[in-house]
Amino acid sequence: MDEILTGVVVDETGTLTLAEFACACGTETTWVLDLVAEEVLHPAGGDPEGWRFGGQELTRARRFQRLQRDLGANLDAVAVILELLDEIDLLKGRLRRAGLE
């Protein structure tokens, strides 16, 4: 295929609506609503109509999904694991900046 595809960049900040986001995660909107209620996801905007999800939320949601599905962990446990993974990412970033990684 010689066609060159041009996509839209999904920024860290919000561009995806609730429906688009659920679709991108391959889930129902109820699953997304649960995660926002549990404060695992933090979309921009006030109410579900106005929520906008960004690429960072997409990565977190899919990471959450993998842990939940693949390890059979419950929602609370996965939320904790996710926070720990976020912290590890942060620390790795610091190591990289210091040239130690």
Binding site: I4, L5, G7, V9, C23, C25, G55, D70, G99
Partner: protein
């Protein structure tokens, strides 16, 4: 295609109970889960284990698989015998990215999603698909076109969903950063019954660069200085992605200090910065001259680097 010995992959005996198989999966999943594993081939092993478990955990699929016999060895050239699965009914969908992760061996035995049901009947939008794309830092600076190979669900000539290799040419926009996604509309899983195809999300990450470390929009570079440059100050040449520049180093610069070159990071609105992390490199004391100079410094400079330690 290659035969896969699912029992060997899971490290269980052919007579293992469902409980033993479940336990084995738990241990292996934890060991190789991509989000937490330290193993280098974690991703591949995790998919392998996942596929093996998919078959062995389901009594129906396991029974059918056992029918192939215990004489096959992993890696052997294999084709499923005709009508090998007569009498078995495999249920369970392969939604999302599960299907794309299964090997040809699995697909040939257990197939993908069912054929389109009826004419004009079941219509559904295809699911979105995700893949990771590794690009060079230079691609983010100037934009580029990259070719990407991925395994994804597609419709074959008979309208069945199969998992096959695909090659795409993708525009990498200038200013793209690690962690961002490129959303390609309509390039995901094909729809059913005439439904629209889903989208393809490409998660962008940078390959390690020999010089620069990327953090969001910013770049970091270790810049070595000679001891006299750090001590006396100097104007030195530093590389940047956009070409070499002259930077002024102040006198009495200690190692670890950062010099910020504004706007010389990844392009964007606003562009990122390039941080030069100053390091001091010592000339080696190989020659007699070098040794003499060092000894002079030792003798005449009265310098105790460990004074702050109280020794």
């Amino acid at each position: 295609m290659e035969f896969k010995d699912y029992y060997r992959i899971m490290g269980v005996a052919r007579e293992a109970s469902q409980d033993e198989i479940k336990r084995a999966y738990r241990q292996l999943a934890r060991k190789y889960h991509p989000d937490v594993s330290k193993e280098p081939d974690a991703e591949v092993r995790f998919k392998e284990v996942g596929e093996a478990y998919e078959v062995l955990k389901d009594p129906e699929k396991r029974a059918a698989y056992d029918q192939l016999g215990s004489n096959w060895k992993s890696g052997q050239d294999f084709h499923p015998p005709p009508d090998w699965n007569t009498g078995f009914e495999f249920s369970g969908g392969f939604g999302g990215n599960g299907a794309a992760d299964f090997s040809d061996f699995f697909s040939s035995l257990f197939g993908g999603a069912p054929r389109q049901r009826g004419s004009g009947g079941y219509k559904a939008r295809g699911e979105d698909h995700h893949a990771k794309i590794l690009i060079d830092l230079e691609d983010a600076f100037s934009g580029a076109t990259r070719t990407l190979s991925l395994r994804a669900p597609q419709l074959d000539s008979q309208g069945r969903m199969v998992v096959a290799n695909r090659t795409l040419n993708v525009n990498i926009p200038k200013g793209i950063r690690a962690g961002q996604h490129i959303r390609l509309a309509g390039q995901g899983t094909p729809g059913m019954g005439g439904g629209a195809a889903g989208d393809l999300y490409l998660e962008v990450d940078f390959k390690p660069h020999s010089l620069y470390r990327a953090e969001g929009r910013d770049l970091y570079l270790d810049l070595p200085l000679a001891p006299w440059e750090a001590a006396l100050g100097a104007t030195v040449t530093a590389p940047t992605p956009g070409g070499s520049v002259q930077v002024k180093v102040l006198p009495n610069t200690q190692a670890g200090r950062k010099l910020r070159l504004k706007g010389r990071g990844i392009p964007g609105g606003p562009p990122g910065d390039l941080y030069l992390v100053l390091q001091v490199a010592l000339p080696s004391a190989d020659s007699e001259l070098a040794k003499t100079i060092y000894q002079t410094m030792a003798r005449d400079l009265a310098f105790n680097p460990r004074r702050s330690l109280g020794v």
